[in-house]
Amino acid sequence: MNWDPTSPDTGVSRRSFLAAGAAGATLATSGCVDSVQNVVGKTVNGQLSLSITTLPADADRQGIQIARQLEANLQQVGIDVSIDMRSPSELLKAVLIEHDFDLYVGHHPAGYDPDFLYEMLHSSFATEAGWQNPFGFTNMVFDTLLEDQRRVDGAQRKRLVQSVLTALAKSKPFEPICRPDEYRVASTDRFDGWGEAALTTRHGYLEPEPADGVNELLALKTDSRPTSNLNPLSATMRERETIIQLLFDSLVTVHEGEGQPWLAEDITWTALEPADGEQGPTLTATVSLREGCLFHADERLAGDDEQLADEDRRLTAEDVAFTYRFLKDTSLGRAPTPSPAPRYQSHVSAVDRVTVDSEYELTFSMNASRPVAKRALTVPILPKQFWRGLVDRRAADGEFTAPQGRWIAATGDHVPPIGSGPYQFESRIEEDQLVLTRFDDHFTLRDDVDLPSPPVDELRFDIDPSSASAVRRIADGNADVTASMLDAYTLDGIPDSSDVEQLHRPSRTFYHLGFNVRNAPFSNTHFRRAVAQLIPKQTIVDDVFYGYATPTATPVTDEWAPERLTWDGEDPVTPFLGSNGELNVAAAKAAFETAGFRYDDNGRLLGGY
C-alpha cells in the first residue's frame, strides 16, 4: 500500500514532503482547534467510531443512499458508524466553516476549468473557513503542482493537471465517486431556444426567446436557500451561483465552457517574462470596462446628501478594484487578522495586483496563464460604496474582528442585493418564491451590444417540494423550466410529450466522499485508501442513479484525466473490494490491517492505532 510521494514530474524531495507533513500537523493543532469539535472517537470497548454527514433525501436523494451504502460496508469491516443528516446550509456550515465532521458525502459544483482544485487542495488554505480546502489537507507536492499548472498553458498545463490528478487519486483527501448526468425539463409552450445555453449560467436565462405576449419566465427550484439569502459571499447558502450571476455582473462571463468579455468591453493580455525563474507576475490583463453601467437603484448607495443620484450608482474601475481587494480580505485590513471571503479564493489568488488606470480602465497583474487568469475575472462585481460602508460601520467602535466566513459580510442575507446584473431583485417570500425583474439600464439592452439580454420583464423562481412534483408541474404547463438539476429517480418518468423538452448537459459536478484529514485516523492516507475501497462506485451509479451518472476516479472530466485514471469497469487506483456491490469482508479487513489497524477478538476495528 505504500506509494512513493516523490513525483517524477516535480522532483520534490522526500525531505520537503516530510516538512509539509509536519506543517500539516502544526496547522491541524493550531489556530482554530478550539472551534473544532472532534466527533470521531472510540466506543467503550475501544472500537473506532465515526459519523458520516450528509443531506436528507428531501435535499439530495442520491447522497444519503451513497452514505448508507458506505455505512453498511464500514460496519461490515468492524467500524461503528452513525449517519448525521443536515440541511444544505447546515451541512456546508459544518464542513466548510466549522470543519466539524469526520466524513461527508457531498455534491461538488466543480468548475469549467480544473483550477478549482487549487482552491480545494492548496495548503495555504488549510486553516481557512470556506470553500477553500475544507479537508485541512497539506502536501507540498500538491502545492507545487497546483501552482505550476496555473502558470502554464496548453499541453504543458494538461500534463501538470494530470500529475495533480494522479497524486490526488493516490492520497485521497477526498474520493470522487461519480459525475451525475444533468437533466432539466422545460415547457416549449411559451419559450423557444432552451438548448442555447446551460441553465447553470446566466446565459441560460437570457437566451430563451418568449412567444408573443409572454412577459414572465417561471422557473422551479427545489432548493429554497435563494429565497432567504442573496449574499454573493455566502459559503453556505449555495453551491452554484446562477442566481448571483443574474443579479451581479462579472468582467468575464462563462458560456459553453469558455470565458468571454461581459462587463469588460475589451481585455488586452500581455505576457511577462518573470525576471529570475518562477516568482512574480507572468501576465497582465488591461481591462476596459463598458462605460456608463449602473448598479441597481438602492438607497444604500446614496452619497452624503442621502439622495440617490445616477452618479452614486455608477460602476467604475474603483468598484472592480475594490471587489478584488475585498474578496482577499473582507475586513479591508481593519481587523487584527485578514478575513478572506469564504468563496472565490482560487480566483483572487491568481491576481497579484490591480491598478486603476482611469475611470474605466484597470490593469490586473496575474501570476497565472490565460485560462486561469480569465477564470479569475468571473467573480461578481460589488459596489464599493455599500461594502466599504459596512466595514466602516463595524470597525467604527474600535473592537473589530472579522472571523472568516462568520462575520456579517459573509453571513448577512444581503436582501435586497445590490448588483448591476441583467436582473434586479423585486421581492421574495421566504421558502416560497423569489421574483426578479429586468434591469432596464443593463448594458446588454443597448443597441450596440451583441450579447444576450433579459428576454422578459419578470423572472420568477418558485420553490417546489421535489423533483417529481416539479416535473409534473412542467408537464401540466404550469411552469416554464426546472432550474434545479433533477434527481435521478424522476428521469425515467419524464412524460414523452412534444410540449416538454428534456435539457441534457454532461455534468462537471461530482459526488464525493470528503475526509477531515485534520483528525486521526483520516489523517492517515492508508486509512483513507482503505475506506475508498469500500465504495462500490459502479453499483451506486446503477442502483442510486439508475445509470444516469458516470463512475469516476477523478474530479474533472475525461478531457483532463490521464489515460491511466480513466474508468475501465472499476476504479483504476483503489478498486472496490468485492463484486457486484457485495463487499468481500475478509479482503476489506485485510486492507485495514495492512494499513496498520488492528481488530479485537470480536472483529471490531480498534480506534487506538
Binding site: S51, P56, A57, D84, P465, S469, R472, R473, Y489, V544
Partner: protein, 283 residues
C-alpha cells in the same frame, strides 16, 4: 397545485361527513341539537377559543420554530435510526400498489375525516362534557406536539432510506400531496407523530362513547390504526414517533379529564375579583 389538492380534500370531506352524520348520529340527536346548540356553544365557548388560539400559534410557529429548533433542539435522526434500525421496512412484506393506494388515501383523507367527524358527533350530545374533553385533548396534542417539535430535530425514515421506500413513498406516488404537507409542516418535525396521537385520541374517545355511537367505535379504531400504520408504511415516521404519539394521546386524554370542568369562566372571574386589592360588591 396546493389549491387543487385542497379542493379535492374539501370535496371528499364534504361528502364523507354528511353521510356519516346520517349513519352514525341519528335523527333524534340532530333534532335536539337544533334546539340546544346555542347553550351548548356557550358552555363550550372557552374551550373552543383556546383550541383556535393554539392552532393559530401552531400555524405561525411551524414556520418560524425551525430556526429556534436548530439552535436549541436535539438532533436525533441518527439516534432513532441507531435504536430501531430498519424496523419500518417490515411493511415491505405487505407492499402492493393497492396497499400503497389505501395507506396514501388514509394518510390524507382518512385522517382529516377522523379528526373532523367526532367534533360534530360529540356536539350532538346533550352533555357537552365529552365534546369539551375532545377539544381539550386536541389542544393538548397540538401544544405538547409543538414543544416536542422544537426540542427534537429529526428527519423521518423517507429522508434516510429513500431507496428502500422508493415504491411506496407518498411523495413519489403522489407528489402533489407534498404541497399540502410542506404547507403545514417542515421535514424535521417527526417526533412525535401527531397523525398517530390525534387518531389514537379519537379512537379512545370512540371507546368511551361506544354506547352513544356504537357503530362509530369500530370504524374509528380501524381508521386510527390504519393512520398509525400508514405513517410508517409511507416512510414518514419512525416506529418511535408512533409509540411516542400513542403515549401522547394517552396523556392528553387523561389530562383532558382532569382539566375539563375544573374551572368555569364564572368561577374564574370571581376568583380573580377576590384577589383584586380593592373591595368589590360589598353588599
Amino acid at each position: 397545485m396546493l389549491a387543487e389538492v385542497l379542493t379535492q380534500l374539501a370535496l371528499v370531506i364534504s361528502i364523507l361527513v354528511p353521510m356519516s352524520v346520517i349513519v352514525f348520529i341519528g335523527r333524534e340527536r340532530l333534532a335536539r341539537t337544533r334546539s340546544e346548540w346555542r347553550s351548548r356553544l356557550r358552555t363550550a365557548g372557552p374551550v373552543i377559543a383556546v383550541l383556535i388560539g393554539v392552532l393559530l400559534v401552531n400555524r405561525v410557529a411551524r414556520q418560524t420554530a425551525p430556526e429556534l429548533s436548530r439552535q436549541i433542539g436535539f438532533r436525533l435522526s441518527g439516534a432513532f435510526y441507531e435504536l430501531e434500525g430498519e424496523f419500518i421496512l417490515i411493511f415491505q412484506s405487505i407492499q402492493t400498489p393497492e396497499t400503497t393506494a389505501y395507506f396514501s388515501t388514509i394518510y390524507v383523507y382518512g385522517y382529516t375525516f377522523l379528526l373532523i367527524f367526532p367534533v360534530i358527533a360529540y356536539f350532538t350530545l346533550s352533555d357537552t362534557r365529552i365534546f369539551r374533553r375532545l377539544l381539550t385533548a386536541y389542544t393538548l396534542n397540538y401544544a405538547i406536539g409543538l414543544v416536542l417539535y422544537i426540542l427534537v430535530v429529526a428527519y423521518g425514515p423517507r429522508n434516510l432510506m429513500p431507496g428502500e421506500l422508493m415504491e411506496r413513498m407518498l411523495y413519489n406516488t403522489n407528489p402533489q400531496y407534498q404541497y399540502l404537507t410542506s404547507e403545514v409542516n417542515t421535514n424535521t418535525n417527526v417526533f412525535p407523530s401527531l397523525h398517530t396521537s390525534l387518531s389514537a385520541t379519537v379512537a379512545t374517545f370512540a371507546w368511551k362513547t361506544r354506547s352513544e355511537f356504537p357503530k362509530w367505535f369500530p370504524i374509528a379504531v380501524v381508521l386510527a390504526a390504519s393512520v398509525a400504520i400508514s405513517t410508517m408504511y409511507l416512510g414518514i415516521h419512525w416506529a418511535l414517533d408512533v409509540v411516542a404519539g400513542t403515549m401522547l394521546a394517552a396523556a392528553c386524554v387523561s389530562l383532558s379529564d382532569r382539566l375539563v370542568g375544573r374551572w368555569s369562566v364564572a368561577e374564574l372571574s370571581a376568583q380573580f375579583a377576590d384577589r383584586l386589592p380593592w373591595p368589590q360588591n360589598q353588599d
